[in-house]
């Protein structure tokens, strides 16, 4: 059963070979994999097909996070290969995040042969039940003959706007069974056009409300055309441009039209939204608090504010904003967004602000920033307004362990761009194995570990929810500094060069060098 890019339509092949040809024809270019025994024929087909690059991860949470990073950067569907229900289980957290990011991902999950399941071997699990909660589309393959059609349907589901998680469960006998040929990809329907009535109503609101109106965008902030349309609208009407707290991809930096991000902390979010009488949701959900608090509302919009949906996620947000700008007869804005000066060399204590200033000094134009740092992220990001234009990607679903894998997948997607990962130490530990993939694939990622050696967000939250704080509790469950993690050793253990610094000057020096060299590098920033 030869494997060839041009498959002889009459030659018998395994189901896995047939599937793989369909996946390649449908545009799959990378397979992030952590395989097991039941995936051997899939691996064999993958290894023989040069169009799909295999990237190995040592843990499934890394694999699914890499797929998210790849999908966010390219907009193309990423493929993962996972092993059984328990392997999928390990990938749930970052699939939850990827789903919130609307990243198109196809998971192929190997399972026992169909006839084997009745024996309830120790490795049997209910793959469908485990996969369903984070899958928008789910199918159990039935046999080798229909497998490639299942693959075509899975890719089409993943590509369906705004991007979905599609999971295809692949019993081993469907992979090793015999078939001929392969299914052609299924075309993806075009986005629904803007709704003229909704646009007309938005024009009315924006003209009537001026600066009491706000537009809340999500995907549009990751597209320079979207930002330009938003700028026209806001310059013409005075409306405020806002972006969702957990936007998957956002252009930022000096010279980029700046949006106001809804803060993670509900009390700050309420301040940002103060005075808004009309909130136009551009395929963004209404702003709500990430968590409930005993004495604080979950709903963040001001009382009486009217929320209007400008489009749904199956529409093209950029097209909708351009249609709105045209309907407003908003003139083109040709003046460049004013540039902000690069910060001076920070000195002294290594604070989040100092780290942010150094990043703003040295991060190259077009860098891809993976940021997972709830406690220190806001202070870093504030400084990055002065950085060269870059794409900011954050944790979209709140499940910890997204940052390192996301950076890894982003670097696979864009080998010519610098990837920077601003990473809290606590959340970094959930999926540190992805550093090994960075070393194996020689990916150009600079990881900055914000080493505060505590679950700092929890130390803050324990008071916010009105729970009693007690020093033994803090020492026992919220302090991760005993023993201190040595991130230089951890990185080197996985083949990634690393250094530790504890002053602003040293950080700036090392970061400057790290931005010049290529390949994975980690800086442990021991914070003051």
């Amino acid at each position: 059963m030869a494997v060839d890019a041009a498959l002889d339509p009459h030659a018998p092949v395994t189901g896995a070979v047939s599937l793989m040809h369909t996946l390649a024809a449908a545009g799959i270019e990378v397979c992030f994999a952590n395989p097991g025994t039941s995936e051997m024929h899939f691996l064999s087909a993958l290894g023989a097909l040069p169009q799909i690059r295999p990237v190995l991860g040592l843990f499934e949470g890394g694999v699914t996070g890499m797929a998210d990073g790849y999908a966010r950067v390219t907009g193309k569907p990423a493929l993962t290969l996972l092993h059984l229900g328990t392997g999928f289980g390990n990938g749930i957290a970052n699939l939850h995040n990827a789903r919130r990011a609307r990243s198109p991902i196809v998971n192929v999950v190997g399972d026992h042969a169909t006839w084997h399941k009745r024996w309830d071997s120790p490795l049997k699990s209910d793959v469908e039940a485990i996969a369903r909660p984070v899958s928008d589309w789910l199918r159990m393959a039935a046999n080798a003959q229909t497998l490639s059609a299942d693959g075509a349907a899975a890719v089409a589901a993943a590509r369906a706007r705004p991007g979905q998680i599609a999971t295809l469960i692949l019993p081993a006998d469907c992979a090793w069974g015999t078939t001929v040929g392969f299914s052609q990809p299924i075309p993806v329907p075009a986005a629904a056009p803007p709704d003229p009535q909704v646009i007309a109503e938005a024009v009315r609101i924006l003209r009537a409300r001026g600066s009491a109106a706000a537009l809340l965008v999500r995907a549009a902030g990751g597209d320079l055309r979207g930002l330009q349309a938003l700028r026209r609208i806001c310059a013409h009407t005075g409306a405020r441009p806002l972006t969702d707290m957990m936007t998957a991809k956002l252009w930022r930096g000096s010279g980029v039209y700046p949006l106001t991000r809804i803060p993670y902390r509900a009390e700050l979010a309420v301040q940002v939204l103060q005075g808004v009488s009309d909130l136009l949701l551009v395929a963004a959900p209404p702003p709500v608090a990430p968590f409930a608090y005993p004495h604080f509302p979950s709903w963040l919009a001001p009382e009486g504010a009217k929320l209007t949906s400008l489009c749904h996620e199956q529409q093209d947000e950029v097209q909708v904003l351009e249609a709105l700008a045209d309907a407003l007869q908003a003139p083109q804005v040709t003046a460049p967004v004013p540039l902000l000066p690069r910060p001076d060399l920070p000195r002294g204590l290594l604070t989040a602000s100092a780290i942010g200033r150094s990043l703003a000094r040295h991060m190259p134009e077009g860098a891809l920033l993976s940021e997972e740092a709830i406690s220190n992220g806001p202070a870093v990001l504030a400084e990055l307004a002065c950085a060269a234009p870059h794409i900011h990607m954050t944790n979209t679903g709140g499940a910890l362990g997204q940052g390192i894998p996301l950076a890894t997948g982003a670097a696979v997607a864009a080998p010519d761009r610098k990837v920077v990962n601003v990473q809290a130490d606590g959340s970094g530990m959930f999926t540190l194995q992805a550093l090994w993939t960075q070393a194996r694939e020689r990916l150009d990622v600079v990881t900055v570990i914000l080493a505060n050696r505590a679950y700092a967000v929890l130390r803050a939250e324990v008071e916010r929810v009105g729970a009693q704080v007690d020093e033994s509790l803090v020492a026992g469950l919220l302090d991760i500094g005993n023993p201190a993690l040595d991130w230089v050793a951890l990185a080197r253990g996985m083949g990634v060069d690393a250094v530790s610094v504890d002053s602003a000057e040293a950080f700036d020096d090392v970061l400057a060098l790290a931005m010049q060299r290529r390949g994975p590098f980690l800086i442990e920033a021991v914070m003051s």
Copy 2:
């Protein structure tokens, strides 16, 4: 709301405090935790109650694996604290293993406040759907007043023979809401007695079949009384004593009545079962292959062999075996099991056998062995027949990443016993974060990493399932030696002392020292 071991039954307390008192009264002694924002009141109550020791893990897969180790060693229910559906997701793999081990575990999973869920905040997940596939018992708490009764029911479910996974989902408002008092523990029913008719039938089979009969045990192998009863039966009738491939806990070593373990590899398992006409299942499942193969049966018992269930898992296997021995009028066997000589110092290449011989030389009596090494485990275990009596614990469900956490939990359970973890490098990487907990709690664990730098089991399996092997496939997806993991650096990065050795003599030297000292220590055995 004061927290006190002796709770004033009329004083208002939070639901979390009420729950915690019930859990303590029901015998919960340790809480393995990886908390988040929604668990703050639970943490506050936990921190104030001295009866329950909190043990922090940096990753939920470590937390659930530690709970399994603790439960296996003590037989008592372990408590975990997890955060939302995604945190539970990270714990699924080791809960699958724990469930296969029949370990009693209570998971408390924090969730958003009940009224907050309707807002679908980015961190919302369907906790019930994610938890159900690996939970034998599952309940969503409804309010603070009934929460401690839910806790009592959860512990009772976990303790129900043979041991279950009980998951209590705890919305934040149920934890911070007000109640008074707490629920008393629910008594656990006694085991059902042996069935005289079944015992009589077994007597008939054993007398008629002699050495063509075999008894397949599971939990009984972890109990010296169970082994003694089995010895009486087999000595008297000639029947063969077998133990399940994935037995959770098994006494082994020189002077211990030896059972034949059904091998992982189906072709070897068939050989072991050859000539068996009657297989008596002592609360063990029928022997089946872990995975299906295209040209090999999943069912391993010889054709025509009769399988008879001697008891079900809700019965007491030891009591059943003793009843059977008495019914057979099998005499007490008072002669000690012959001792085997300790191996000589191994020399030269560092092979699995050499590692096994050194372990047999130096492992102290009563050691707890956590073994997760599918490729090299059998060769190591063969040598351990000559070790001092010890308890062998293996991966019961095949989900990788059990060994390090299991050893960690075992050491929490038995601070006076030496814990040894024989750990493959590939599977070790799934949950390496548990090493940090070993350092934090100063646990007496010696970890031996079998560094073959490959997914060796998969290299073997790819041929067994009849898939094509290709060197680029091996290099791309089955070889984890590029770059080589440096386990000494990884261990030190988490505060655990470590050395690397690559000869049999050096391994023996280091192991002897490691067995003498106390506290966590890791030996990277770079295999020949």
